[in-house]
């Protein structure tokens, strides 16, 4: 390879790197910041402004801050509820749409696609009222332990809303996954007298395990980092999520304390990064799974 060829094949890489700089810089900053007293730009400094000042002090929030564990539990609960809800309901509906013929099937399929494209965020105002109404239902409205019920100002309510808004994508993906499973085992089982439910549980679901894993990871990450819906529908500080908590921290601190807040940020980011590093193929498959844009 001549130096000219080498140069021209390096150009795309150079260009790409330049374009990707904001992303790289942003994450670099937050990592450096959590371990510094303060940062001047990307450079860690100590209190006097000299370079250095590396510290683990920022992580003291883990034991000093009374709220953080509460908030973490809430967020974890929300993410788990969301993931289980989306997986189970999408898997059920996806199976029926893929394998059972019933009146209205085509309408549901078309409806799912339209709903997926529809901006659900515009409905928040109306959903607010719906949640308030649900909150009035005895017991499951507001009285359940841990998740607090399914009404307004509860984790259960927020989870239910988020499950519903993710269903179009989930159902569509699940249907796609089921479509790819061969008919043979299923037909054999049905001929031998298996009920649909059993076929679904014992044959179909295991066959699409990678798909389920991908959707589970993707949904969990979404639930873990959710801000708008928990923020809008939960007013009780005790029940808020890490995102809402982190945002409120930024509201009343001067920029100097950014390193403290950055530590909380990384704390929230760690699970996401772990999933991202180890399950990349699954995540990418979700994004491309429904849109194999061909010519």
């Amino acid at each position: 390879m001549t130096w000219k060829q080498r140069l021209s094949s390096a150009i795309p890489v150079i260009l790409l790197t330049i374009l990707t700089i904001p992303v790289i810089v942003g994450y670099l900053w937050i990592i450096i910041s959590t371990f510094s007293t303060r940062t001047y730009g990307l450079v860690p400094v100590d209190r006097e402004g000299k370079i250095g000042g590396l510290t683990l002090r920022n992580w003291a929030f883990l034991w000093e801050d009374k709220n953080i564990w509460n908030v973490t539990l809430n967020t974890f609960l929300l993410a788990v509820l969301l993931t289980v809800g989306v997986l189970v309901i999408s898997a059920m509906a996806g199976y029926a749409l893929s394998r059972i013929s019933f009146p209205g099937r085509k309408a549901f399929l078309g409806g799912t696609l339209i709903l997926h494209a529809f901006p659900s965020v515009t409905l928040l105002i109306a959903i607010y009222f719906i949640l308030r109404q649900i909150g009035k239902i005895p017991v499951i409205g507001k009285g359940l332990p841990v998740i607090g019920g399914f009404g307004y100002d509860t984790i259960g309510g927020v989870a239910m809303v988020m499950v519903a808004l993710q269903l179009p994508l989930g159902v569509w993906l699940m249907k796609g996954f089921f479509d790819g499973v061969s008919w043979d085992m299923e037909r054999a089982a049905l001929i031998d007298g298996c009920s649909r439910l059993r076929v679904w549980w014992e044959i179909m679901l295991p066959s699409i395990r990678p798909g389920i894993a991908a959707l589970a990871i993707f949904t969990f990450i979404g639930g873990w980092g959710a801000y708008l819906i928990p923020y809008t529908f939960i007013t009780d500080q005790e029940r808020s999520t890490i995102s809402a908590y982190l945002q409120s921290l930024q509201g009343d601190t001067a920029p100097v304390n950014y390193s403290n807040i950055a530590a909380v940020g990384i704390y929230q980011l760690i699970p996401v990064l772990i999933f991202f590093i180890f399950t990349q193929e699954y995540l990418l498959s979700i994004f491309s799974g429904g849109t194999k844009g061909g010519t």
């Binding site: 992303v23 942003g26 965020v121 607010y128 719906i130 801000y227 980011l269 991202f276 498959s285 849109t291």
Partner: protein, 322 residues
């Protein structure tokens, strides 16, 4: 004998009774009901409810009981409201800039670049571009706030503006619109990037190689072979992201909360109805604002599905790494 699940009438050959229909429907009913119920309650019911509220003057002044139906009054107010045109213009500008430079522009550039370098490296860059979308929004915006923060803390001020001797300031406050476009852009670009990469990689290798053999330079091949062959995904991403941008406001809420001329229509509706913006919740007026977006959303969603035959774009989902 197997319990038949076929649809050729009941097994004994007599007339199908209601019980037979029930039995046949029991499986699909069981499987479909949770999804149907949830989408009914949280997609369809809200549209109706939103419309109804938009015809009232409900606010925290009237409370939830003492409101009155005022017909199209809210909509008429919107038409004559002093904020309407500026906010509309901000929304349109935001959509156009983010779309052209990032959601389509950068997406295309990154897709093209990452498919012209070794595969492994391509994965890594595309994965990096996916990271903003996966990051919790609050953390992501916090990064950007710090990128633009004032000296000596902010990255841009400290490492770029200062060394060049240029005046420094909190860039998020001085250039809010720019940062709104940037923050949304880096998230938005990842969708188009994946669609375009898929599309580029499904172009038959023969065309790509033939073009080079026939003496095309890289640029000519991009312009005359690749771009025409991905025109359909290009159009799709453009229109899909248009709707997406029209209604997205979470990042703007977090970054500037609408200050500095960055209030977009969706944020205006949210502020009016759900945050104590004007000292009270104006549900009726906010609902009217939102209803306009809902109407646009419904129309555009239906157009996509028919015009783009989205169903045709969806092929069997296979789990494979990009």
């Amino acid at each position: 004998m197997a319990r038949s699940t076929s649809h050729a009438g009941s097994p004994t050959g007599t007339r199908t009774t209601f019980v037979d229909v029930l039995r046949r429907m029991s499986a699909p009913l069981l499987f479909m009901s949770p999804a149907v119920i949830l989408t009914g309650v949280f997609f369809f019911a809200p549209v109706v409810i939103l419309f109804r509220i938009s015809l009232t003057d409900m606010s925290s002044v009237t409370g939830l009981k003492n409101y009155s139906m005022i017909g199209w009054q809210n909509y008429r107010t919107i038409l004559t409201h002093p904020n309407t045109l500026p906010i509309l213009w901000t929304t349109v500008r935001y959509m156009i800039f983010t779309l052209i430079f990032f959601n389509v522009g950068m997406a295309l550039v990154v897709a093209l670049l990452s498919t012209h370098i070794p595969r492994r490296a391509g994965f890594i860059y595309r994965a990096l571009w996916l990271l903003p979308r996966l990051t919790p929004s609050v953390v992501y915006i916090m990064m950007w706030k710090f990128i633009g923060a004032d000296t000596p803390y902010g990255i841009l001020n400290r490492h770029v503006l200062e060394p060049l001797g240029l005046p420094t300031a909190n860039l998020v406050s001085t250039e809010p619109f720019l940062f709104v476009v940037l923050t949304n852009g880096f998230i938005g670009a990842s969708f188009g990037m994946i669609v375009f990469t898929s599309a580029i990689e499904s172009i038959p290798r023969d065309y790509m190689i033939a073009a080079l053999v026939d003496g095309c330079t890289m640029w000519q091949r991009i312009r005359y072979v690749i771009l025409p062959m991905i025109s359909w995904p290009l159009l799709f991403v453009t229109t899909y992201q248009t709707l997406s941008l029209l209604t997205s406001f979470e990042q703007i809420l977090l970054l500037t909360d609408g200050a500095g001329g960055t209030e977009v229509w969706a944020l205006w509706a949210y502020h009016r109805a759900l945050s104590n913006y004007y000292g009270n919740f104006q549900w009726g007026f906010g609902a009217a604002l939102a209803m306009i977006l809902v109407a646009i959303g419904i129309v555009m969603s239906i157009i996509y599905m028919r015009f783009f035959r989205f169903g045709a774009l969806v092929q069997e989902a296979k789990i494979e790494a990009l």
